[in-house]
Amino acid sequence: MRTKIIPTNEEKVLNQNDFIVSKTNTKGIITYCNQIFMDMAQYTESELIGTNHNIIRHPDMPKIAFKVAWQLIQSGEEFFGYVKNLRKQGGYYWVFTNIMPDFDLDGKIIGYTSVRRKPNPDALKTIIPLYQQLINLEKSGGMDSSFKAVSDLLNEKNMEFNELSIALQGDI
């Protein structure tokens, strides 16, 4: 049983030369995490392995972001997105996440591997207010309204979700 973590404003910035690597099974249970992950999330390997990946989910994240991620990776595609993660001590860190499904030799999904890098600070200038807006929409109209907002945005930009994420990241 986890005790509820009270989020603080303490930010940990991921080193540009590092990336966080983690693997989960198809249900989101962590099967591997690298040392950067442990360092950033402030958990030990034994605390993380066997736990659901949402252990580091931050309340500032709109649900739609995870819904999009799951939709993409469950259909065998990769996902690119910006995620604010919760540290064990209540702090947070932003990552530019890439999640890919892992396939066995028969092409069946056996898990997911995530590589998370330092997000472009300029991208966060767009993402933070966008997520706030999406959270507000979810509070008033549920995930349907945030889904509609994301769809509208993508239609307006004429971009795929991943394309928009990558475009925001640019070259850093």
């Binding site: 990336f19 693997k23 690298n34 795929e160 475009a167």
Partner: protein
């Protein structure tokens, strides 16, 4: 023990604690032996020995377990390494104790696999997407190290090149598509050169200019075709009207000619009749003149009768006087007879008879007088009548003269009319010829109109079969030049017409 290790998460710690305990025991035992020597009680020695044996045993057990763990880790690493060697980069080593050397090795191993796997997956995903034509995906060198960063950057340059080539290819495919459309007479589409590479923009511009030229040409063709069609239709329609009119005219002219012929013949007979009338009038004139003469002679005769009647009257007066005197003589004879008495009686009868004769003579004279007077009145009446006749003949003559003048006028007019009718006839004949010529021309023009219409329809059909922007806006105006229109367009069109430009 594994449980213990996993709790403290440090195999080294346990190992060190046991080693330190063993050290403490051995050093304690050695010092005790050094200072106290033989005076050490056997029990204490035994305790030390037992402790030493116990701790040593523990150390051996822990050492064995450590070896076992080490060997297990090595086996795990071997397994993961073999998987990686067989191309499965997915597996990692878990439950790593970083305090151990093998733990550090394990992490190095995991990190190496993370590098290789992240790089490989990034590469695979980028290549997969670019092969689907999606160019937004690229290698992310952040977090990768060393050669992987270099490779990623090189691959990104290559991906960019591929994207450019794909984009060019897509543009060229677009161009080919548009050219194919042009080939199939669909000139609506133009090539969008937004984002197009410099070296192929010229080609695209050329194709676009070709499209514009073809569009303009088609629209002009359509416009001209419609105008021609409209003109041909109107021509055909009008020619038909002319044709029909010519036929109707020909019929009317025929009717007119026959009517004129009838009029001419009527006129000729009228002329003949007027000549006859003139002759008759002349005859009547001569009869009237002789009638007048006869009437004059009659009047003269009446005068003569009157004179003769006067003579008769005088003769009657003489007879009357004779009768009177005879009567007196008879009276005298009667008186004389009466005086002669009986002798005279015979004589008295004679005298009486004479007296009767005288009376009868007087009566006869009176009757004659009455008759003569009646004759005088009749003669006078006759003279009056004769005079009236003379006057009547005079008037008759005047009338006949006037009639003759009229007849002459009519004759003159008739002759003029005949001339006029002849001229009209000639004119009708000329009109008839011209009408026939017109009808012939109309027939030939009609053929031309039909042919023009066919050509126009072909042009319009051809032009309409072409897909051109603004095609639906091409209409011909009811009148090419709207005289009421005062705007700019009119002048433009007029100027175009004037300079023989396409409308």
């Amino acid at each position: 023990m594994e449980w213990l290790f996993s709790r403290v998460n440090s195999f080294n710690l346990v190992k060190n604690i046991i080693l330190q305990s063993l050290n403490v025991i051995i050093i304690g035992f050695s010092l005790t032996v050094m200072f106290y020597g033989e005076s050490i009680p056997k029990t204490t020695m035994d305790i030390f020995i037992v402790l030493t044996i116990l701790v040593s045993t523990a150390l051996i057990v822990v050492g064995y377990m450590a070896l076992n763990r080490y060997s297990n880790k090595i086996k795990e690493m071997e397994k993961v390494a073999l998987e990686a060697a067989s191309g499965v980069l997915y597996h990692r080593i878990n439950n790593i104790d970083t305090t151990e050397d093998i733990g550090k090795l394990s992490w190095a191993f995991n990190d190496m696999l993370d590098q290789i796997e992240a790089f490989s997956r990034d590469l695979n995903a980028s290549l997969k997407l670019i092969s689907e034509g999606k160019t937004y995906r690229k290698m992310d060198p952040n977090g990768l190290h060393g050669d992987f960063v270099v490779y990623s950057k090189s691959i990104n340059i290559a991906l960019k090149r591929i994207a450019t080539a794909q984009s060019k290819d897509a543009f060229i495919q677009d161009m080919l598509k548009v050219v194919e459309e042009y080939k199939n007479n669909d000139y609506r589409n133009q090539i969008d050169t937004t984002g197009m590479q410099e070296d192929i923009i010229g080609l695209a511009d050329g194709i676009n200019q070709l499209g514009e030229a073809l569009t303009a040409l088609s629209l002009e063709n359509l416009h001209n075709g419609l105008a021609l069609q409209d003109g041909a239709n109107k021509l055909e329609h009008n020619i038909n009207i002319i044709n029909q009119a010519a036929q109707e005219q020909a019929v009317s002219l025929e009717e007119t000619a026959s009517a004129l012929e009838e009029i001419a013949s009527n006129m000729r007979s009228s002329n003949e009749n007027t000549i006859k009338m003139e002759a008759y009038a002349q005859e009547v004139t001569s009869y009237a003149i002789s009638g007048q003469k006869l009437a004059s002679q009659t009047a003269q005769s009446m005068d003569d009768i009157n004179e003769q009647v006067s003579s008769i009257n005088e003769a009657i007066s003489v007879i009357d006087q004779i009768a009177f005197q005879t009567n007196i003589l008879s009276l005298n004879a009667a008186v004389e007879a009466a005086t002669a008495g009986e002798a005279g009686k015979g004589f008295a009868v004679v005298a009486q008879e004479v007296r009767n004769l005288a009376s009868r003579s007087a009566e006869a004279a009176n009757e004659i007088k009455t008759l003569v007077q009646t004759a005088t009145i009749k003669a006078s009446d006759g003279k009056h009548i004769a005079n009236d006749m003379i006057e009547g003949y005079t008037r008759l003559n005047e009338s006949i003269d006037k009639t003759i003048v009229l007849i002459e006028d009519v004759t003159t007019a008739s002759k003029e009319q005949e001339l006029g009718v002849t001229q009209i006839n000639d004119a009708v004949a000329i009109i008839d010829t011209k009408t026939k010529q017109n009808a012939h021309i109309a027939k030939e023009t009609n053929i031309v109109a039909i042919q023009s219409n066919d050509i126009a329809q072909k042009i319009v059909r051809d032009a309409k079969s072409k897909q051109v922007k603004g095609k639906e806006n091409v209409h011909i105006r009811e009148k090419l030049i709207d005289l009421k229109y005062q705007g700019e367009e009119k002048r433009k069109i007029e100027s175009k017409i004037k300079h023989h430009e396409p409308l």
